[in-house]
Amino acid sequence: MNAVASVDLQLTPTLSYLLRPADTALIHAQRLTEWCGHGPVLEEDIALSNMALDLLGQARALLAHAATVATVAGQAGQAGQACAGLDEDQLAFLRDEGQFLNFTLAELPLRKPGAHSSAPASGGDFADTVLRNFLLATWFKALWTRAVQSTDSELAGIAAKALKEARYHQQHAGDWVVRLGDGTAESARRMQAALQRAWPYTTELFAHDAVDEAAVASGLGPARRDLQADWQRDVDNTLAAAQLQAPAATPFISTGSTGLHSEHLGHVLAEMQFLQRRFPGGRW
């Protein structure tokens, strides 16, 4: 069996800035895809798969752009040496866990096989799915709204297209949050429990570091902390309509966007990357 070498990127601030939403969309899509064939009703099953495909498309566009940026940087850094061009598939399927920069929230388990008929102690509840989809779609909407003004015309173009999709995802998922939060006593209890589980991981969505700093300085895009007011307003409105209480802030900040992940991402990647690692360059 041929071993296939992992892609090892030099993570510049620009590259990291592109990989954060790219990987968040990719891993979120991968988690939503786990519902395919298991949705609570046929129509919602299709809806979840449609949204996963939207996110996969966004990830693909961003990773293709990141691959171009990485290739150009690699060629500049190794003048005289041959530097093979990267593409989006290599970034998705041949990068190791430490180089994935998705928010931790996106990688946490959504669903346990066979667990959709009853609510397990943590995760596996449909409430977790609609809530995470809502929280991340609202974040993406805030990001794309501002990224359309990026000095990077490629990123601005991706943002303009993705904004329409994020707005719909937010409406669809937000609708579920309200229906379940303001539904029966049982659905309200489970929705509030899901909120309790997800909330500590939302702090990372607005953390600030050198990557954000550099993006603002170059005009590449907004800093995460500048997205918080928009996000908070939308989330507060929906939680109020759903009769849900936002949990108190905690000092915990998850670190997926710096490459330090929970124990769950490795399992997601093992499943997602298996084929390309076992059959390098394999195509349909």
Binding site: V41, L42, E43, I46, R179
Partner: protein
């Protein structure tokens, strides 16, 4: 509880979906789906019936709000029209300008 009542208790109501393929054309019936209410039906219709760019507008109507003709009345309702070809406007010569009417 009758079969229909039992289904009502565990299933969302049925909606009929109408899609307008493009501006200027009429909404056409394209199928049905289950949803908790009309607002959800519009969203799910978007997912189920317009995911390949089939339309620019959606209508949904609760199936129970549709009053249909009785299949048992088919012969008295529709068969008498079979031999009334003069009801088709096919005996006029149309000017070229309205050829696509």
């Amino acid at each position: 509880m009758s079969g229909a009542d039992a289904a009502q208790a565990t299933e969302w109501p049925l909606f009929e979906v109408f899609v307008r393929p493009k501006a200027g054309l009429e909404h056409k019936h394209c199928g049905s789906l289950h949803a908790a209410d009309a607002a959800m039906a519009v969203q799910l219709a978007r997912e189920v019936y317009t995911r390949r760019q089939e339309g620019v507008s959606l209508w949904v109507v609760k199936s129970s709000d549709v009053t249909a003709s009785d299949p048992g009345d088919r012969d008295m309702y529709f068969d008498p029209m079979a031999d009334k070809v003069y009801r088709h406007p096919s005996f006029y010569v149309l000017p070229q300008a309205v050829d696509h009417l």
